[in-house]
């Protein structure tokens, strides 16, 4: 026992001198076997969980934990930021496609959207885009509706009061300009 005490005191003195602490300290580990640290038992699985998000990366970032940690964190940050830009770019693409389709029908995109809004056709840009690709005739009908709504004022002022063919509306009387 005394031999162990001396051993411990010697080691503790060594440690205190290294750290610059000069005082009489008695360390807690009484036997050599108790110096062995037992850290978390599941390090392997935690590392694997992170590396599985990095397997498709290039270079050592897909194998080595320290490099992978940084790369995976950046990747997750980019993914978070991109969720907002994805919505933005999807809307932009829908608008470009609707503009192309409406130009095929001899109308411009702002005119189409504004006149559909005035007719209270509440189709959003996603629906209009799907229609213009897969249901071209429905889109043509919508464009005709928007065109009719757009020229309603002109026809009331200059036309002969007749309705354009093929466009259904709630107006049943002939259109006349209502000026005072």
């Amino acid at each position: 026992m005394t031999r162990m005490w001396r051993h411990v005191a010697g080691v503790s003195a060594l440690l205190c001198s290294k750290s610059g602490f000069t005082g009489s300290v008695i360390m807690v580990f009484l036997t050599l076997s108790r110096w062995i640290r037992n850290r978390g038992p599941d390090r392997y699985w935690k590392v694997q969980e992170l590396l599985k998000s990095a397997r498709h990366f290039r270079g050592r970032k897909n194998r080595c934990y320290s490099l992978a940690v940084r790369a995976v964190r950046r990747a997750f940050v980019y993914a978070s930021k991109a969720r907002k830009t994805k919505r933005h770019s999807m809307r932009q693409l829908w608008i470009q496609r609707i503009a192309a389709a409406s130009r095929e029908q001899h109308m411009k995109y702002p005119a189409l959207i504004h006149n559909l809004l005035k007719c209270s056709v509440q189709l959003n840009r996603r629906a209009l885009c799907d229609l213009c690709i897969s249901e071209p005739r429905s889109f043509k009908a919508l464009a005709a509706l928007a065109c009719a709504r757009r020229t309603e004022g002109f026809r009331a002022a200059l036309g002969d009061g007749s309705h354009p063919p093929g466009v259904f509306s709630r107006i049943t009387q002939p259109i006349t300009a209502q000026h005072g």
Binding site: L93, I98, R103, E104, I133
Partner: protein, 176 residues
């Protein structure tokens, strides 16, 4: 169209068309914007920037384009090769004399998106100085696009009756 088989419909949707534009008496900027829209594929409802769906555009009579205003003398095309003393500035008239297709080519190049697909799109643009087109291009053409600018008639092209019927706004002073 609905009677096509699926593969035929797919082929028809994604086929590359060849457009023809006559640039006689047209402003080169308007011609260039029409070209750039069709080269990118923005005239199609199936447009996507990553999918290569642009069409071919053939422009003829580029020698006879018409700038508005004084742009033939005032518009300057500058270039620098990087070596000292090689800064060149050419007016539009000089540039056109040197190469009649350069004005439209530069205009279209500036209007296309500034990415790697730009060079491919420029390869699909075919410029000809006059209305003589080679056989293989003539065989490929599918559609002619209407000209953006209505060409005004010259005074000599009006008949005497039309000139007389034009309303007189003021009587010109003639020395007795």
């Amino acid at each position: 169209m609905s009677s096509f088989s699926r593969s035929a419909q797919q082929w028809a949707t994604f086929a590359r068309s060849w457009f023809l534009i006559d640039a006689r008496m047209q402003p080169p900027g308007k011609i260039a914007s029409m070209c750039s829209v069709r080269l990118q594929g923005k005239h199609k409802p199936i447009y996507h920037p990553m999918s290569d769906i642009g069409d071919h555009v053939v422009v003829m009579n580029t020698r006879h384009i018409a700038f508005s205003g004084n742009k033939w003398e005032q518009k300057v095309y500058s270039s620098h090769t990087g070596y000292p003393g090689s800064f060149k500035q050419l007016t539009a008239a000089q540039m056109h004399k040197k190469d009649p297709t350069a004005i439209i080519k530069l205009a279209v190049y500036g209007m296309l998106p500034k990415n790697l697909t730009r060079r491919t799109m420029m390869q699909r643009l075919h410029l000809f100085t006059d209305d003589v087109l080679p056989e293989d291009i003539l065989k490929n053409l599918t559609e002619e696009l209407p000209q953006p600018r209505e060409i005004p008639r010259k005074l000599s092209e009006y008949t005497q009756e039309e000139r007389d019927a034009f309303p007189m706004l003021w009587t010109p002073y003639c020395k007795p």
